[in-house]
Symmetry: C2
Subunit: 339 residues, 2 copies
């Protein structure tokens, strides 16, 4: 039934008694009288015409598809990737999702292969934001990075997270509850030198009189459980755990359960990146959420925005939203003075 041949620009031109050129201009409203434009437009959608994106892409040099690259291991990023793809689709852009699985080597490789694909934009959830390889992609390919700015590419735009605010409120919350020693579980991000969040936590903790022990953990529930139990097995057991990622927090729950610790009575757990499951586990996880849709919109519009519009600095910052649920409480034993 769908046997009708695709209509081409020439078909419309013929039907309108105009040249290809005039028709092309008219359809895009670039030239010709109002009357002609309307007439051509009418004919076009009467015949069910729509321009072939491929031909158009070839002619004007842009492919119309962008890549979403980064480490998509955890649920949060995975969801974000899907939302981004959706958001781009709304702008008539196709997307390629490339999971680099947490490895800078793969990230570099993917970037290289992307060059051949002629993507005309990249949204990155960078594994290694300070890597040099980000300069390998041609300058005219716009890059928007989410989470961290690309140090090697200062002209690229970024959507940042206000970690200072997040870490600050988290530690303040714990300090207010009376905790004195807290453990911080940060995701393992290979090569990235100087993780801002950890450093922030150390200095902010200091100023609040908290002793913060930092430990890194894979983003998987199992890996995190392992990392958490090691942290809890230390001689000065922290009374609260601040987990940079809900998956890690879930791992911490498991570790607590394995060690026979009650949450939040014996151990407070604080998450990050509110997931749908956060309110499911028992006790419900106190965590930080994001306005994901806003983040996606910001990233998409940063990518599609004409040159240098928007914020002067080329960066937008989002604040996490504190969601106080049930997994934090004052420490049961007032943090003993050393031993």
């Amino acid at each position: 039934m769908t046997g009708a041949q695709r209509k081409t620009l020439q078909d419309i031109a013929d039907a309108a008694g105009l040249s290809k050129a005039a028709t092309s201009y008219a359809l895009r409203g670039l030239r010709g009288s109002e009357a002609t434009q309307a007439r051509v437009r009418a004919i076009a959608d009467e015949l069910g015409y729509s321009a072939d994106p491929i031909a158009r892409a070839l002619a004007n040099g842009r492919s119309g598809n962008v890549a979403i690259v980064g480490s998509l291991r955890d649920l949060w990023r995975q969801g974000l990737a899907v939302m981004l793809s959706e958001g781009l689709r709304a702008q008539e852009l196709s997307s390629i999702i490339a999971d680099v699985d947490g490895s800078p080597q793969r990230e570099a490789a993917v970037l290289r292969s992307l060059a051949a694909q002629r993507v005309d934009g990249i949204i990155a959830l960078p594994v290694d934001p300070s890597a040099e390889y980000w300069t390998q992609v041609p300058e005219q390919t716009r890059i928007v990075s989410i989470g961290d700015a690309l140090t090697a590419r200062p002209e690229s735009e970024s959507v940042l997270f206000d970690n200072e605010y997040g870490v600050g409120t988290a530690l303040q919350h714990l300090a207010d509850l009376g905790h004195r020693t807290v453990g911080l579980l940060a995701p393992t991000l290979p090569t990235t030198p100087g993780r801002p969040a950890e450093l922030l936590a150390q200095s902010l903790g200091d100023s609040m009189g908290l002793s913060v022990t930092v430990s890194s953990s894979p983003s998987s529930v199992h890996g995190a459980a392992h990392a958490a139990s090691q942290l809890l097995a230390g001689r000065e057991r922290p009374t609260a755990l601040f987990c940079l990622g809900d998956s890690i927090a879930f791992g911490a729950y498991r570790a607590a359960r394995d060690l026979g610790l009650q949450v939040p009575a014996d151990l407070s757990i604080l998450g990050f990146d509110d997931s749908e499951l956060a309110s499911l586990v028992s006790p419900e996880l106190t965590t930080f959420g994001w306005d994901e849709q806003a983040i996606v919109d910001a990233a998409v519009s940063a990518l599609t925005m004409p040159e240098g519009t928007g914020t002067a600095s080329g960066r937008v910052m989002f604040r996490p939203i504190f969601i106080d649920r049930e997994s934090t409480a004052p420490p049961s034993t007032p943090s003993a003075p050393s031993h």
Copy 2:
């Protein structure tokens, strides 16, 4: 630094002292002597040439990108979508992910808009597999559907799930434990008439002497909690709940907790679609898992496979894998005879 202009086919031709045509053939190994082919190939990658996918697409009429459409609400499908996108990328195919959010109307609309995009393949996780609108997409666009075959498009290939086996093992497991009345929570899928799983459960349950009450539930944790508590509030409270989807199962946990029921002592819960979180909740969820990678590979190869290769029927079937954890147990009170 990356200032070098893109190499075009003509550049290679010049460097090799051949015509554009000869070069094109040689690069693809379609014509010319072995020697020439090798030489051209060498020159090409010495100059760092790679064919522009857009120009190629225009010339041979296929766009090289496929769409992944369907309801991507739950974590499982979301993860699958990302894996599919990855799998397609490995075959040099870009993908467009379109979430239709569970609405057949949106599904129809998305399909319509996809036609304009000239996708040359679709992988569907159909909301309404029996809808007529699947015939709207041109026949030459290959469709692979996952989960349900498209009744309106018998020629399309499908990757199916062996529900009979899954439901059978699930009910058998519950029957063996001594349960007599079980509730089935199936996801709400609007318009889909005659949900096979429900029917299956009814008849299989009959043959095992089980009384199965079917109820539908949204796939979100909250919605499911609501649906579950309604089911549990019925006068003949089931002693076990079989949830078609882990998210629903998590909702059931929450409902049980709200009602003060112990899992699995007072209520057994059985999930479906093993998620990473299944082993996290307490007690760990007994559920069914899938070999997702195999499913993805099957779908991708069904899409890329040349005409009519593969299974004669055009369908592959996967069996869920039973994962026995902690959330099922014999019913505490032997299922009372009515009241």
